[in-house]
C-alpha cells in the first residue's frame, strides 16, 4: 500500500486500522468505517474494495471463510500491523494539502459569478455550522457521561480520554471552519455590495 502523500487519511489506511483494532468481516468493517469516521465521506464500497486488495498485498489475511465474500473474516498480518503502527507513529513531516474548492473558486471566479460565489460560501458555512452542532452534541454527550463506569484499567481510561480529545478536536475543527467561512462570506458580501454600487454609479454614464 502506498503511504499517503498528504496529511489526510486514506480509506485503505482507515480500513487497515479498523482490522488491526479488531478482526472483522468486510460487512463489519464497512459499518465500523461509517460509525468511526462519519464525516470522512469515503465511498460506501471502501471496505469492499480495500480489504481484498490489502490481503493481496499481504497486510490482511482471511482467517475464516463466510457464506459470501463480504462475510469472510479478516485479520491483520504482522506486516499489516507493522505498517499501520508505522503510519500512526510517523512524524507528520508532510505538508498539509490545500485542495479546498472554495480556494480554487476564489482564484478563478469572474465578477458576474460573485453573487453565486457568495451563495456557495453561505451554504458551506451553514453546512459547517450544522456539522459543528453535531460534533458539539457528541462532545457534550461525552462530557455528560463522565469517566467509564465499572473497573477501568489504564488502557480503557486511556482510550476514553483519547476519545474525548478526538471529539474536542472535531468540535474545534468545525468551529474554526465555520468561523473562517463566516468571515469569508462577510468579505465577499462587502465586495459584492461595492461591485453593485459601482455598477449603479457607472450606469448613467456607461448606459
Amino acid at each position: 500500500m502506498q503511504l499517503p502523500r498528504t496529511g489526510e487519511m486514506s480509506s485503505s489506511m482507515a480500513v487497515l486500522g479498523l482490522v488491526v483494532q479488531q478482526p472483522d468481516t468486510i460487512a463489519g468493517v464497512a459499518l465500523r468505517l461509517s460509525e468511526t469516521f462519519p464525516r470522512a465521506r469515503w465511498s460506501p464500497g471502501a471496505a469492499h474494495s480495500n480489504m481484498p486488495n490489502l490481503a493481496k498485498q499481504g497486510l490482511l489475511r482471511v482467517v475464516q471463510e463466510g457464506r459470501e465474500p463480504t462475510l469472510d473474516r479478516y485479520e491483520a498480518t504482522p506486516k499489516g500491523v507493522a505498517q499501520f503502527r508505522r503510519w500512526v507513529g510517523r512524524s507528520s513531516s508532510l505538508p498539509p494539502a490545500l485542495r479546498d474548492g472554495l480556494q480554487a473558486r476564489l482564484e478563478f471566479a469572474e465578477l458576474e459569478e460573485l453573487s453565486a460565489l457568495v451563495e456557495t460560501v453561505r451554504e458551506a458555512e451553514r453546512d459547517c455550522r450544522s456539522e459543528y452542532a453535531a460534533a458539539h452534541g457528541r462532545w457534550k454527550a461525552y462530557t455528560n457521561l463522565g469517566p467509564p463506569s465499572g473497573p477501568a484499567g489504564p488502557e480503557r481510561l486511556f482510550k476514553s480520554k483519547l476519545k474525548g480529545i478526538q471529539l474536542m478536536d472535531e468540535v474545534m475543527l468545525w468551529g474554526a471552519q465555520a468561523k473562517r467561512l463566516g468571515h469569508l462570506s462577510r468579505q465577499l458580501e462587502g465586495l459584492l455590495e461595492k461591485a453593485n454600487s459601482s455598477f449603479v454609479e457607472q450606469e448613467p454614464n456607461g448606459g
Binding site: 453535531a134 458539539h136 452534541g137 457528541r138 457521561l145 482510550k159 474536542m168 468551529g175
Partner: protein
Amino acid sequence: MDEVLLLSEVSKAYWRGDRPLEVLSNVSLHVPAGAIVAVVGERHEGKTTLLKIAAGIETPDHGRVLFCERDLWTLTVPERERLWGDEIAWTSRARPGLDWKMRDYVGLRLAMGRSRGRRGARAKALAALRRVGAEECGERFWPELSDWQRMLVGLACGIVSCPRLLVIDDLFDGLGLSKMQAAGELLGSLTRELDCGVLMSASGMEAALMADVVWLFGDGRLRLMSDQTSSGGEIVEFPTVVRGSRGTGT
C-alpha cells in the same frame, strides 16, 4: 427549562462623528436556567455591548430585554438596581479599580447594596472563593494572582450573590485548552448548583466547548452554531476496542 433571559430583536448603534455605527442588528437569543450560552466573536465587534444590554447595564436602541419575564427597561431605576445587585451578576477580566484584598473585592457589591454590612459580605465572599477553589486568594491583592486565580476570583464575584443570571465577559480567554476544560467543569457545576442561566462571551472557539448553546457573533449579527439544551445531545459510543482485552462503554 425556565427562561431566565430573553433578548428580542435588540439593536444598538454608537455615533462616530455624524455616522451611526451599528454594533447590534436585530439580535435575539434566550438563556434558560441551568444552561451556559456562549457568544463567540472577534474582539471589539460588540460582544460586550450585547452582554451589557443583557445584564441591564446598557440600554438598547430597539428591542426588548426580558429577565424572568420582566422587561428590564420598564422597571424603575431602584427596581433595576436591586436586580442588578442580587439576581443579575456581571463579571469580567477587568482588574479592580482600587487595591483591595480579594475577600473585600469579591464581596464589594454585596457590601454596597441592601445593607448587608461589611462583615456579612466578607463571609459570603470567602464562601464564594472557597466554592471556586480560591480560598487562598482571600488575603491577596490582584497583582499577586496568577491568570488562573484571577479567573477564579472573577467566578467568585459572579456567584457571590447566588444570581439567577450570570453574565461573564471574556473571563476565560487565553487560558489554554486544558485549563479551559477545568474552568468549564467548574462553571458547569456552579450553573447546575445555582440553577442559574449563564451568558458568556469569548473570542476563541475553545471557550464554547463548555457551553450548551453556542452563537457566532459578527457584523452585529448572531448565527446559531449549536443548541444542546433541547435535544440533550447525540448518543456517543465509546471506542470499540479489541475483543476480550478491553471493554466498551456507552
